[in-house]
């Protein structure tokens, strides 16, 4: 890609999250715990044209994402790709992927679900739909309506 076509500049080291569902970049930042108080440089591009329609892109400088963070991103951006950048080159590239279950990542929306009490268990959801993503609590069987609001 020519430099003049880039909406946001290349980064030397860090992570580029590409193919985020258009409009969900802010949710991705929330999941990553990136806020005003974060010290590293973050660039966001929203509603960028691509071959597959509109998308969002997030570039995080000097931070390589761990797999647990990647799983969380899949909850709001199931088609996102993660590019680990080292010295301007893509060192690793993979697509976010959720398994059959989401464990310990989302809080159940039901206040009286046993998983929200003081028991030694992690929250556990079964994935019942991929597009749009739908999950169901293993314990109380409730489906949270806004998954991104429930991420732990």
């Amino acid at each position: 890609m020519k430099a003049k076509e880039l909406k946001i500049p290349r980064i030397k080291d860090g992570t580029v999250i590409d193919h985020i569902t258009a409009g969900n970049a802010i949710k991705v930042l929330h999941i990553l715990g990136i806020s005003n108080s974060s010290s590293f440089v973050v660039s966001v591009a929203m509603n960028v044209k691509s071959k597959m329609g509109r998308k969002d892109i997030v570039k995080v400088e000097n931070r390589e994402l761990h797999s647990s963070e990647v799983d969380k991103i899949a909850l709001v951006a199931p088609k996102a790709t993660i590019n680990i950048i080292r010295d301007y080159e893509v060192a690793k590239k993979h697509r976010v992927k959720l398994g059959d279950e989401v464990i310990g990542l989302v809080k159940c929306s039901n206040p009286t679900c046993i998983s929200n009490s003081n028991e030694p268990v992690k929250s556990r959801f079964k994935i019942i739909g991929q597009d749009p993503l739908r999950i169901k609590c293993y314990y109380c069987e409730r489906e949270p309506e806004d998954i991104s609001e429930r991420i732990i």
Partner: protein, 309 residues
């Protein structure tokens, strides 16, 4: 068909074939449940009966079922007498019951409690109601009642009435009746309608439930009227409860429009939704339904502990 060691958490954990097997086996249990015959197949076995919420029928019928089969019951009906009051977790309580008995019967106010208990127990866990969640043994005894009274479950016109939003029995029952192809009508005040997910599940099983607030119309050609109490304890605020309590009342005048062989069921306790004058009519099946909890729970205890008559 393997039942030994199986947990009974939700009716959805069972196939139609398995449900039929349990119901047929429960029929065999009737003379034992009445004390006319005795078979001490569970002699030497112990169940833990852990009731974290009040109960009359479920607890007593489980205890009766175990005693009728020669087994013993330990447990509590009031959690304030246990270490839960000192802050002990449910999972630790389950670990103890697991060490002391051969099966656990649990009622708990929180949804998912029985599923969690099953994770911490090696022995079978039978869900006796988890908050607004599941009550599979009630569902089985309801199916058993319809089967014994009507000689079939499917092809009946069945009206579910009352609190369809918070009522755990009607959620499981709507699913199970759809599995059998019953014709369903849901009658409730608009704020207590059957949850969307339950209606969707029924539709996935090819049922086409009708939803209405008019009982008079629905009762005309019904074969079964399943009445539920509007449960004060499940309402988030008293004002909402006061708006809908007393919405429906079954009395003899209403029943003049019903079929002669209509049966009226209720998981009990009832408050004002069925007038006591109905009790003496042939429509009233609810006390017989409550008895049916014993043979059905006998069948389940016998099967999950692997000791058959």
């Amino acid at each position: 068909m393997k039942f030994k060691g199986k947990d009974v958490i939700s009716i959805k954990d069972f196939s139609k074939k398995e449900i039929n097997y349990i119901l047929n086996y429960a029929k065999e249990m009737i003379p034992y449940a009445k004390g006319e015959k005795y078979a001490g197949i569970l002699k030497g076995k112990v169940i833990s009966s852990l009731f974290f919420e009040p109960s009359t029928r479920t607890r007593l019928s489980f205890e009766s079922a175990m005693n009728r089969l020669g087994g013993r019951v330990i447990g509590f009906a009031d959690p304030s007498e246990t270490s839960q009051k000192k802050g002990e977790s449910l999972s630790d309580t389950i670990r103890m019951a697991n060490a002391y008995s051969d099966a656990i019967v649990i009622r708990h106010p929180q949804e998912g409690a029985a599923r969690l208990a099953a994770e911490f127990a090696d022995i079978p866990v039978l869900n006796a109601g988890d908050g607004a969640g599941h009550h599979p043994t009630q569902c089985l005894l309801d199916l058993f009642t319809i089967l014994t009274e009507k000689k079939k479950i499917g092809k009946n016109k069945i009206v579910l009435l009352g609190d369809l939003k918070y009522g755990r029995t009607v959620h499981s029952l709507a699913y199970a009746l759809s599995l059998y192809g019953a014709e369903l009508t849901f009658v409730s005040p608009s704020i207590l309608k059957m949850p969307k997910e339950v209606v969707e599940e029924c539709k996935e099983l090819s049922a086409e439930p009708i939803q209405t607030s008019s009982l008079e119309k629905a009762i005309k050609d019904a074969d079964v009227l399943y009445v539920t109490r509007i449960q004060k304890e499940r309402f988030p605020d008293a004002e909402e409860y006061n708006r809908v309590v007393g919405s429906y009342k079954i009395d003899n005048e209403l029943l003049t429009n019903a079929k002669k062989d209509l049966i009226i069921m209720h998981p009990l306790p009832r408050v004002t939704e069925i007038d006591p004058e109905v009790d003496s009519t042939p429509h009233a099946i609810y006390f017989k339904q409550a008895f049916n909890g014993v043979p059905v729970r006998m069948a389940l205890l016998s099967l999950v502990m692997g000791e058959k008559i």
